[in-house]
């Protein structure tokens, strides 16, 4: 099983930015930010780059790709 985790909520709170402000800066809806933070939605590569650029971080510092082997 493969999934993408992220530290978006933590980074956003550390910077003292609201979901609305981040959504406005990235030109996406507030619901998209909420879904990203909850892990319900994986961003496109363009949005991932936009987020990384906004926080002046690398994509890997925000998003963590994990592979989980469920072999029995």
């Amino acid at each position: 099983m493969k999934f993408l985790k992220n530290n978006l909520e933590q980074i956003r709170k550390e910077k003292g930015i609201t979901q609305e402000d981040l959504a406005s800066a990235l030109e996406v809806s507030r619901q998209t930010i909420g879904s990203l933070e909850n892990g319900r939605y994986n961003p496109s590569i363009v949005l991932a780059f936009k987020i990384a650029k906004f926080f002046n971080l690398t994509i890997e510092e925000i998003f963590i790709y994990e592979e989980e082997n469920n072999e029995k």
């Binding site: 809806s29 998209t32 939605y41």
Partner: protein, 130 residues
């Protein structure tokens, strides 16, 4: 720009079809065709004009419309809706057969059975694009 041109064409087509409807003595079929053309062209142009204006003037509308999560939801909804529509059309075709309305049943049946072929052509078009 291209969208504006399309809107203008739509308005012209609707005006012409309206004039023809008023002044031309036509048979029932042509009349129905002109009504259909008028409704379609005016509807398309009005909705498109409203959308273009909202995209320019309303930043919230623009964000909501271009939002990638909304686009994904819209794609999934459309895929689900087309499947539901196919099932409904098949049900209606069955009802048509049961009441011996063979022509609408045949049209619906052909549409339902032909949709995978049309889908294959559309897929081929997009495969060439990406």
């Amino acid at each position: 720009m291209k969208s504006n041109k399309m809107n203008h064409i739509g308005y012209i087509v609707s005006a012409i079809s309206m004039i023809l409807l008023i002044f031309l003595e036509t048979n029932k079929f042509t009349e129905l065709l002109l009504i259909w053309l008028f409704t379609l062209s005016i509807g398309f142009s009005l909705v498109n004009s409203l959308h273009s204006r909202s995209m320019k003037e309303d930043p919230d509308y623009k964000i909501e419309n271009n939002d990638e999560r909304t686009e994904m939801i819209r794609d999934k909804t459309q895929a689900m809706m087309s499947m539901i529509q196919m099932i409904l059309m098949a049900i209606v075709a069955t009802i048509c057969i049961s009441i011996e309305a063979y022509l609408p049943a045949a049209i619906l049946g052909i549409t339902v059975l032909g949709s995978p072929i049309i889908m294959a052509f559309v897929m081929k078009y997009y495969e060439g694009k990406y």
